[in-house]
Symmetry: C2
Subunit: 199 residues, 2 copies
């Protein structure tokens, strides 16, 4: 509702001002990602983020209303980036699409590690954050099912959900402890999926 009102207001602004609003919002989301990705929610200071952005705390709250609301938008933005980057050309064969998608996923994990950790290690008992994370997983599962000719049984769906859990757990452990190079993790993830769909 508040967002709809803000969006309507933004529409009435001249283009340059709308650009500035979008740029400011993007800047705040980027600072928020760094903060929430590296510290616990309680340890993130809205004052510090406003200072880093060179704006008042009041202006930050103008954009995001509450600390909680800001946090949810930061997670939503990280999820949007991950979902966009892992889109694949629909004309590729399924296995090639899988490989391209895993590659894009791991480049996000590697290059945007803080965003990935913020998304996966987030406050998943917050209903809004949980909804964002669940929607991201559902999008990946729908893409996997879309690549299969005959849809899936409930059992196969649980296996795909499990594989998404496999990808997240091994990617987080890889970020933290390494163990293999990125190509090695890519191979682990694709071999796992191929082995699992045959069980």
């Amino acid at each position: 509702m508040a967002r709809a009102v803000r969006a309507a207001r933004a529409e009435k602004r001249p283009p340059r001002q709308r650009f500035e609003v979008d740029a400011r919002r993007a800047q705040l989301l980027s600072l928020g990602l760094e903060a929430f990705g590296s510290r616990s929610y309680d340890d993130v200071s809205i004052d510090d983020i406003a200072t880093q952005a060179g704006i008042s705390k009041g202006l930050l709250y103008h954009y995001f209303t509450t600390k909680r609301g800001f946090y949810v938008e930061v997670v939503r933005d990280a999820a949007r980036q991950l979902v966009e980057r892992t889109q694949t050309p629909p004309d590729l064969p399924p296995l090639a699409r899988l490989s391209v998608a895993i590659d894009a996923y791991l480049s996000f994990v590697e290059e945007r590690a803080l965003a990935y950790v913020a998304l996966m290690r987030g406050q998943t008992n917050d209903p809004d954050v949980r909804a964002v994370v669940d929607a991201t997983r559902d999008e990946f599962i729908d893409r996997l099912i879309g690549g299969l000719p005959n849809g899936v049984t409930p059992r196969q769906r649980l296996v795909l959900v499990g594989w998404i859990g496999f990808v997240e757990a091994s990617s987080l452990a890889w970020l933290e402890h390494g163990g293999v190079d990125r190509q090695g993790l890519h191979e682990i993830l694709s071999s796992a999926l191929l082995a699992l769909v045959q069980t």
Copy 2:
């Protein structure tokens, strides 16, 4: 530190009083589990829990100091239950131990669904909660590695970490949406592990 002081004090109490302290603590942890397992952290009211236990809010804070501290102990207690229930007789062959452990895990998931959700959907960006959840996963991975004759390579360790993620994701989805019966989920989890260790 505070806990060490409390423990030292408890030691000096006569046995009956110590029993009452332990029983009260267990009651509060059980009420906490129900609350944190079914609502978001911010929506859990310490006042309500104290009222349900028939004690003052001050007495609850005597046991757990802060809401955050109470929450961490609730998660720790759920983790302890899960780890204890899934212990298996060391004289069984590895595959039989795996089956017994998965069975015990799924009976926890089914019978103590709120505890399981509280543990898995917890505020995993809180360092103390994260430490409890990570220690639980490490315990399971150490048990799996203990069942293998030659230890594991870094690659195999990542696969086992991934399988724990597979178990958690499919168990949560099963609690929420069903799809197969418990025996069916048991079969999915064990087939997945056997397929994955051969990749």
